[in-house]
Symmetry: C2
Subunit: 234 residues, 2 copies
Amino acid sequence: MLFRQLFDAETSTYTYLLADEATREAALIDPVLEQVERDLKLVSELGLKLVLVLETHVHADHITGAGVLREKTGATVVASGQGAPCVDRKVVHGDVVRLGGLEVKVLETPGHTDDSLSFLCEGRLFTGDALLIRATGRTDFQNGDPGQLYDSITGHLFTLPDETGVYPGHDYAGHAMSTIGEEKRHNPRLAGKSRDAFITFMKNRQIPPPKRLDVAVPANRACGRVVEPPQAQA
Amino acid sequence: MLFRQLFDAETSTYTYLLADEATREAALIDPVLEQVERDLKLVSELGLKLVLVLETHVHADHITGAGVLREKTGATVVASGQGAPCVDRKVVHGDVVRLGGLEVKVLETPGHTDDSLSFLCEGRLFTGDALLIRATGRTDFQNGDPGQLYDSITGHLFTLPDETGVYPGHDYAGHAMSTIGEEKRHNPRLAGKSRDAFITFMKNRQIPPPKRLDVAVPANRACGRVVEPPQAQA
């Protein structure tokens, strides 16, 4: 498998490029609108054909490049049926998405948002904003639910082999990847913490909403077609 | 080999952690002073012992963590003899630095600076600021020389197998790695460009000096002991 990690510094978002080296079919996971030209240039230079865009969830902190990529390449946009109406293929837990000879397994991991998916391919787990490195996604909007997030991580992710690579949707400290074993042992919100302790911690956090929430969520429900923010009420 | 890529967003600097999974001996390549605590925490959480700090060159854009890491762990600081006087082990082209059962091969790749090294370990090439992704290091200070940089890259790096992974000291576009084959084909400064064309391009660039040049270079010659900048002349 050809694999690349890409970063959008403005929003600290990771995008991932996966490809079957034999068939040259490629997928992008969580592309960022402002980076579409960079990503397409890389796909072209590597001699690949973009056939899939996989979205882990409807993002609140950046606008997806999925819709523009679909227009430019004909790629199929894949995501949960619980999220954006604009997607082409709505998947559920246990589905397998084929990328040439590769298999991408879909895991439903709600809790950050109700539509959050993780994707597993060749020992690499793409966790979106469910499991982050030594952290987790927040749970205070978009139908987030800390108890559900705890169950998703402990039930569906921490049951994978310890050596599984963890590739998150964001990192703010300069880490690129982790492993399931590492997060089980060292994630301060989860290691040795009960479900109740996790819920209490998440509910007590006092953090401002994402700066672009009002723009990003409606835009991402349209696969990145930018929608004007609602007028502020007088 | 255990491998991790780490990023300092303030200076867009990549630091690399390599370790022998059997002996747990670890090396950091180009650590950043402000990230020492992050890096030591990761080393500890992974059950590693830091024994080496490898510096690709005397940096002008950030201050190295090498000296502080040496004080805290007893690690040996390895670099070119052409650069910082503070290093413990001065290496030359063709030297092999052992890290447990791993071998790190030293390549002298001057041109960005006169002390620039690249390190090759298990198919991964750490190029410092000699070869960047679709770019190269600048050559306009610290005895930089565009002809020498062209010769270093084409003579010592582009002669490695095409599939060799390229891990640079910086990236400003969100790319994490490349390969020798990719850079031979797609690096706009080098692909199909003559030595003279490269020299002309590099000499005609009009870019401001690094913001922290006056602080970083003297500090890095002391392995990161911060030295006050010289007083501005009246």
